[in-house]
Symmetry: D3
Subunit: 292 residues, 6 copies
């Protein structure tokens, strides 16, 4: 069960509202790198957690924290979309939102256009969409039932998330926004650590994932071989993945300079007559088979 | 540029066609864990690669290999959807596809229904969709411009991909399909190794990602702190992420038993009159402000 | 900011796990009538709330409650997907999940197929998708900036939500599931009341929405007229919307038995030559214009 | 069955073509508040209508009218995208579409970019997408089989629809566009009335929806209780939903100052071994259970 | 503007309701081959039509006809989802919908599960989705502004549409449904003819599309050359596309047995430092460049 | 199986990087007219090919070529997104990407906003999305199992694809980009020819598609009749589709000046009580039926 506090996890201040930056912040709300995704991802992983309780508890803690991050960013969007409340009454012509997006000559202004959805659909508020207006998509919420796979999904989410936050940090010069982002960047640092720490916590032999599939059942010729697919043979580079022991200590990297097919050209059966391929396709098929 | 070989990378044999298994295989083609995703992901990362050429080359090799995996799985779907070509002519009533999905009494059969899309839309062939028929979505193709973030995205893709392949392996008892899957499982083992090896190859200090953002600019109070969000204080668990040095060696884990808000309750400005909130909302807003 | 309690808002018990019912419950999690939608909808409306603080506060309370409903349903899905934990070890052959979906003869079983995604992708857990496996879509999260429009969006969400819950109630005979649903149905009753109560609370003249647009600026001939579009004149039915005072008390319903066009056939300009329509289309256009 | 008239329902005039406004109008065509949605929604509700024929007839009339609204808006988009046809031949450099979007120096112009899709994909015409270019989505078409739930869905559609139309009205100063919008705003006024009138027409006791579920089967403790989820107790506000008789006259509002969990911490079974969780997750699970 | 007739374009009779066939019919409503797509496609092409009026008129006629086809199919879905109305009252246990999908033992029945969405969301009615429940998507509505390209899009839609209808015809043995489908199949025959007839009507030189781009500006070496991409040289097949005059009479087919790259390996610039690639990626980049 | 060559199929040069044009090029990568679609479409058609081997081979050749086109366009996007690598270090203020999108005053610049996704998500690289940022969608990949239907799908793809390429050609004045596009336009010319040549190659009687459905089973009254749906009778136009022999030589066009319904007003059964329509809807239904 969940509770809220009307106060925010960390201060959200905007000194100079910037509607364009509001749009950029949407990526951190509803984009694939954004907070709705991590929030639902950690919570679903917690709710589906089968295994030691401490992992479930940890996921619940952090999943709950992420709701607060959506809240902070949504508030930041709303604040960036407004002018000072006084000037809005007094002088609509000077107000960036009103002026840029609501009418007058500046309707032809590109900024107005870019903010259309925020004006037309959300009334100066945040949306569950990315910075292009593409809606959040539930397919991004990964919960595989395998905790190690999930931890890599989480590490990836926090890596692209922190990367996004640093790019947003570069994009703004508003001190309030920079301060809020410095907090979110710090949280992403911790969360990267946290998910990788789970892998250590689980024990030393997590790879390959899943580690519960008997590895002797996988093909033993190709499980530690790099296959080069160049049209001409490619010499092995001087790189960690091309030679030496594998990272998991269970194999040895080999390098196949030019991959070769092991299989044959496939032969499919004739089309099912009730599936209504073209007559000529079916008949020609028969003839082509006959020739063989 | 690209070339093809009419032969397949590895043999694809189906002894007893199983239309239901064909549907399951679709997850490995068009699902978020599937081969279209990794193929496009590695190729886009290669094409966008800025940095040492050896990473681009490696991504090209493996991205190209993945096209062959889509091919193998698509062929496996087509083969599972067909009866022996002889019996199809001779005895449609015994043919699983015709019988189950094409007509007669068994149109009420659930299997027929489940395979509807394969019969109605693709004519016994594979589709760019998952096992529920949900189309492949380009948002899953991650290429962030940061190689370490991308490697975690790739490790995650291969972890959920190998997990999916082992589950498919459990689901079938067809020797041909088990053989094909043992090859794909082996390749996923290698590819997990490969992406993690890149992180080693890059150098020892990759965390936090991105490592090019000056870490002193992130909030120093919360960057290695676990925040518990329980309504009651939560004692620190005996876990790697709760105490001791951080994984990156740059900090020390602390554990905050009960997170507290640092911010205030937010105050948004009045609705823009031209945004047409309700009159009562605007007026009541004024009154509510006045009361403060 | 948000907090969690490891206990659930209301008991979630499953006496006889039913994997098919798990799939049905997904509609209440990730469908357009489901709990992720209302949760995000109320929270975004709260975060974007411009106007009297009491509405924001109310939205926060209920938005937070809805996270607990997702949690209850996700837990119900996970419980319906498992067999008793003892029998799963002892006798996989009797276990509905293992047997139906994991292997053996029954892989051809339709139920196994239907549950594929839960087995292949989520490992016996809930997903952010509906009962067809279609992912949750952020476009469903309505927050318009106009509180009355939002309340109708919320009333609609709770109406279809309660309808869905009663249908799920009819579908199961598990006492634990029926008890959980009787709670969710009750909450939907309250929430329907609550959103409609806001409209009363705002004041008596909320219609038409938005009520801040000067109604004299809308077309005065057609704002209370029912337009019949039948190819033959349609007599006015004996119905509330066909005559008498309008509901908002601001007009009088009229009934136009056969709507007529007020406009002309449109005339568009020629294609832009640089837009590369067909030559014949452009030239024929000129000729066709010339004929007029 | 359906018929068309080459004339439009209401005049569509554009005095000064404004490509940016064309893009804004797309929201009213292909957005969730737009006309494709209401058109299909009312028609599907009519086609699925089970119950008194007069409701089906009404839905058919208005669903058919909405096709004409899509037509008007699509025509408005096309007209806003064109220059005067003469100047386009004579002086491409002065033509807003050609100049802004087709080439020359102004390819770097933001407006050109914003209109890219209209130039690249639709050749100066309307698309089945919103103002961000996100395609219309069939999930928005609500037809629940319960007429009261459907009427709230319709009231919500017309509320957000009229809100959108008034915002578009503010955005343009073209007299033709303002006139067209004043008609569409008027029709939305009527349609709001109409759907709410159906609820009156059905009879006095429509709430809670569905009213055919025996209300005594829902949980009687929580069906008229407001649950506050604040971390600290929240006093009841002076608001319609916090005390007094419920709107439906069937209960009495109560206010729970601080919601408490009724359920327990959930306990899920072990992962299914064939679902291939991590070994350490499965074993640790056993140990963690053993400790209890 | 549009009008409706309460009668349907062609009789829709269902002798033995078959809920599974209802689900199959959804593909013809909301699938990419379905009627919503062609309806909107022809209407948008008409509304955007720039060129001779006769094409616009034709598109309007057929686009309007297609609304009637959606209506027929939606009605067929609703009828297939119901039992005879008498038996539904008398003996719910015998009713296929109630029995299969609503409760009792048969909730575990696969058919019940497959119809879940129709029961849970639409109350025995049609939806704007395909036979897998995937919603209609507006991106399928093609209107390019080039009439020849549009005619191929339309010919393709009617080809896959007629193919789908014949497959549905094979799937059912209900005389009413077979009769309805024989009508829809006939209309698709006509519409295939119609769109191809437009190409003849336009004049003899429509290829390549667009024919308004000066063909001498396209690369003259590769515009009629078949490029084989096999890893080994491929002899030209005995096929129409491999030799002889091109179909448009403007070139001559050549056959390149083994395609070769004309370009170089690309060299991208360094990552933008403010885009926060990994430090090692940026520095290694410099080193790797330095080596060249 | 597949191989790559590090060299590109055709030179990709950018003289003056233009970030806005990069965005436009995305339509040719991830739009419905774009190269990912044709690449996957031809490859899936090849892999699913049942019929003469020469068609499969041809599809493989061209599907493989299209991967190289994605590569060229992705490279063109990356090159257009970068400044000269020297100036980026030396003078970020002059660099279009840095300046426009990364910070400083110009964050309010519309161009910066438009390129947000390329900066925020892809780090100056191409994405699997269209020019509005809408992700590639697998539903666009058509493979119907009927080769003639597929060839129309392919002809349509190459028609809209060449149209798009000519519009991009008009949009840029960069000699390198114009050269690359002249190559892609030429390839589209060939591919249009190629797919239409398959129809000739198959034999003379391909229409109607599918030609394997016995045409005498389709309704014989309406299979070559144009149905006008105007509210008033429409005289037959002087057009190819309105009279004379049908294109397939199997019928004769007739023109029905005013279409009439052949069917009746539909009558659906009562709502299923367990589907929980409104009581008043169910009862009123009974009353309304009783009246008849």
């Amino acid at each position: 069960m969940f509770y809220h506090d009307s106060k925010m996890q960390y201060p959200v201040r905007v000194e100079k509202p910037n509607p364009v930056f509001a749009r950029a912040l949407q990526q951190a709300i509803g984009g694939i790198e954004g907070e709705i995704r991590v929030c639902l991802q950690y919570l679903f992983q917690a709710w589906n957690s089968r295994g030691p309780v401490k992992y479930r508890d940890m996921l619940m803690n952090t999943g709950t924290e992420e709701i607060a991050h959506i809240e902070m960013l949504a508030t930041a969007v709303a604040l960036n979309l407004e002018g000072a409340s006084v000037s809005m009454q007094e002088d609509a012509a000077q107000d960036p939102v009103t002026n840029a997006a609501m009418g007058g000559q500046s309707t032809r202004d590109a900024i107005g256009n870019q903010l259309m959805r925020h004006v037309l659909s959300s009334g100066q508020g945040a949306m569950a969409a990315d910075s292009d207006g593409v809606p959040f998509n539930g397919s991004w919420v990964i919960g595989s039932g395998n905790i190690a796979a999930d931890m890599y999904a989480n590490a990836m989410a926090e890596s692209t998330g922190r990367l996004l936050a640093t790019r947003l940090w570069e994009m703004t010069d508003d001190p309030g926004m920079k301060d809020m982002l410095s907090f979110l960047i710090a949280r992403d640092t911790m969360h990267q650590q946290q998910w990788l720490a789970v892998l250590e916590d689980l024990g030393t032999e997590q790879l390959p994932i899943p580690n519960s599939f008997p590895q002797e059942l996988e093909n033993q010729e190709f499980n530690y071989a790099f296959l080069a697919t160049g049209i001409e043979p490619q010499p092995a580079p001087d790189a960690r993945w091309a030679k030496g022991p594998s990272l998991d200590g269970k194999g040895k990297f080999t390098y196949v300079k030019q991959a070769k097919p092991q299989g044959e050209k496939p032969t499919l059966g004739a089309p099912n007559p009730k599936g209504h391929a073209q007559v000529d396709q079916i008949m020609a098929y028969d003839r082509s088979k006959a020739k063989k």
